[in-house]
C-alpha cells in the first residue's frame, strides 16, 4: 500500500513538474526573452570571434575552448530569467500555492535544459561550419554537450533561484555560477579537444564520467536545497 502511495506521489511530482515546464514554455514563446538573449549572445560572440580570428588560423585547441566559452557565457545571459521573471512579475507567491518546491525546481530545470539544447542545436553546427572546425568523433562531442548541458542547466537553475531573491540580480548571476560550473567548462573543453583530434590522446571515458557525475551531484544538491531558497 505504502509503495503504491509512493508511486502515485512520484507520478504526481512528475506530472506537476511537466505542467510547470509547459507553462514556462508557453510563456517563453510569448516573449522569447531567454531564447533571444542566449541565442543572440552566442551568435554575436561567434561572429566576433570568427571576424577576429579568420577562418583557417585557429588550432583545434583554441577552437574547442572558444566553443565552450561561447556556450557558457551565452547560457549565463539567459538561464537566470526563469526565476527572475517570477519575482519581477510577483507570480512567485501564486506558484508557491499551487505546487511543491521539488516540482517547481524540476519544471524549471527541464525548461532550462530544453532551452540550452535548442541553442546548442543552432549554435554548434554554425560554429563548426563557420570556424572550419574539424570534428573527428562526433558522438564524443555530442556526449560532452549532453552531459555538459545537464551540469550547466542544473547549476544555472539553482543559482538563478538564489539570485532571484537577492538585490543585485544581473551582476551576481555570473559571479556565483561561474566558479561552480568551471568543472563543466574545463572538462567540456578537454573532451572537445579530444573529439577534434584524429587519434584520441587520452581516455575520454573518465572525462565523460566526471561530467556526468558533476551533473548528478549538482542536480541532486539543487533538488535538496531548493526548498530553503524558495520558501525564504
Amino acid at each position: 500500500m505504502e509503495s503504491l502511495n509512493q508511486k502515485q506521489g512520484l507520478l504526481q511530482t512528475g506530472t506537476n513538474a511537466y505542467l510547470i515546464f509547459k507553462k514556462d514554455l508557453l510563456q517563453e514563446f510569448k516573449t522569447r526573452y531567454a531564447l533571444n538573449a542566449i541565442f543572440l549572445f552566442a551568435l554575436v560572440t561567434l561572429f566576433a570571434v570568427s571576424f577576429a580570428i579568420g577562418t583557417f588560423n585557429a588550432s583545434s585547441d583554441i577552437l574547442s575552448a572558444l566553443l565552450w566559452i561561447i556556450l557558457f557565457f551565452a547560457s549565463m545571459s539567459g538561464l537566470s530569467h526563469i526565476f527572475v521573471r517570477e519575482e519581477e512579475a510577483h507570480t512567485a507567491d501564486t506558484l508557491k500555492l499551487v505546487a511543491k518546491p521539488t516540482e517547481i525546481f524540476l519544471g524549471k530545470l527541464i525548461f532550462n535544459i530544453v532551452l540550452l539544447f535548442m541553442v546548442e542545436l543552432l549554435v554548434v553546427p554554425l560554429y563548426v561550419a563557420i570556424m572550419n572546425f574539424t570534428i573527428y568523433h562526433i558522438l564524443l562531442l555530442a556526449a560532452a554537450l549532453l552531459f555538459g548541458t545537464f551540469g550547466l542547466a542544473g547549476g544555472g537553475t539553482i543559482v538563478a533561484a538564489i539570485i532571484a531573491k537577492s538585490n543585485a540580480r544581473g551582476a551576481l548571476f555570473t559571479v556565483l555560477a561561474f566558479p561552480i560550473l568551471l568543472p563543466v567548462l574545463v572538462t567540456g573543453i578537454s573532451v572537445t579537444k579530444n573529439a577534434a583530434t584524429e587519434k584520441l590522446f587520452s581516455n575520454p571515458v573518465s572525462e565523460l564520467q566526471s561530467l556526468f557525475a558533476f551533473a548528478i551531484v549538482i542536480i541532486t544538491a539543487g533538488i535538496l536545497l531548493f526548498d530553503f531558497i524558495w520558501n525564504e
Binding site: I162, A168, L172, V186, T187, A213, V217, E232
Partner: protein
C-alpha cells in the same frame, strides 16, 4: 590558567616545528632544500579543507535550526578558510617556482585551488548583496553547501583526470606516506600544531560572535 598553559605549549611546539623543518628533518631523496616548504604548505591546504568543511556543517545547521548564530559561525569559518587557502596558494606558488620554474603555470592543482578561491569569493559577494539578515543567511547557507559539494571535483577529481606535476596529496589512492620517520615526526607535529592554531582562532571568533549577540540582546 589551563588556557594560558595551552597557549604557551602551542607557542613552544610551533617554534620547534619551525626549527625542526629547517634543521632537524632530512631532505627527501634527490630533492633540494626548497622542499622544506612542505611542512608549511600541506598543513595550510589541510586546514583549508577543514575550515570549509566546518563552514558547510554550520550552514547545514543553520538551514535545520534557523538560528542566526550558526550563519555567523559559518561565515567566520569560511573567512578563516579563505585566509588559509591564500596561505596554501602562496606557499605552493613558491614551491612551484623552485621546482617547476615558474610561480604560476596552470598545473591542474593550481587551477583547482584558484577556482576554490573564486567560489568562496563569490560566497562573500553573495553575502554583501543581500541586506535582510535572515534571507542573507539562508541564501548564503545554500550557496555554501552547493560550493562545498563541488569542491571534491576541484580537489580530487580534476587533478586525477589531467596529468599533474603535483606530488600525491596526503589523501592518495594508495593510502601511503612516502616519508622517512624523522620527516614524518616534523610533518605530523606541524600538521597538528597548525590545526590547533586554527582551532584557537575559530574558538576566539565564535566567542566574539556570542558576545556581540549578547550585547545586541541587552540593547533591545
Amino acid at each position: 590558567m589551563v588556557n594560558k598553559l595551552l597557549k604557551i605549549g602551542l607557542f613552544l611546539i610551533l617554534s620547534l616545528v619551525i626549527i625542526g623543518a629547517f634543521i632537524y628533518a632530512p631532505l627527501a631523496k634527490g630533492l633540494g632544500e626548497f622542499t622544506r616548504v612542505l611542512y608549511f604548505h600541506v598543513p595550510m591546504a589541510w586546514i583549508t579543507v577543514v575550515a570549509f568543511f566546518i563552514g558547510a556543517v554550520y550552514s547545514i545547521l543553520y538551514l535545520k535550526k534557523k538560528e542566526h548564530k550558526y550563519d555567523l559561525y559559518a561565515e567566520t569559518a569560511n573567512q578563516l578558510g579563505f585566509l588559509f587557502v591564500v596561505l596554501a596558494t602562496v606557499t605552493g606558488s613558491i614551491w612551484a617556482k623552485m621546482s617547476w620554474g615558474s610561480f604560476w603555470n596552470w598545473d591542474p592543482r593550481e587551477t583547482s585551488i584558484f577556482i576554490l578561491m573564486l567560489v568562496y569569493a563569490a560566497y562573500f559577494a553573495l553575502r554583501s548583496a543581500v541586506e535582510q539578515a535572515d534571507r542573507r543567511a539562508s541564501l548564503a547557507a545554500v550557496y555554501d553547501i552547493i560550493a562545498f559539494v563541488t569542491v571534491p571535483f576541484f580537489v580530487f577529481i580534476v587533478p586525477r583526470i589531467y596529468a599533474s606535476l603535483h606530488p600525491d596529496p596526503l589523501i592518495n589512492t594508495q593510502g601511503k606516506i612516502h616519508m622517512s620517520p624523522k620527516m614524518q615526526l616534523v610533518f605530523f607535529t606541524s600538521l597538528f600544531s597548525y590545526t590547533m592554531v586554527f582551532v584557537w582562532m575559530l574558538i576566539m571568533r565564535i566567542k566574539m560572535i556570542k558576545l556581540k549577540l549578547k550585547l545586541k540582546e541587552m540593547e533591545q
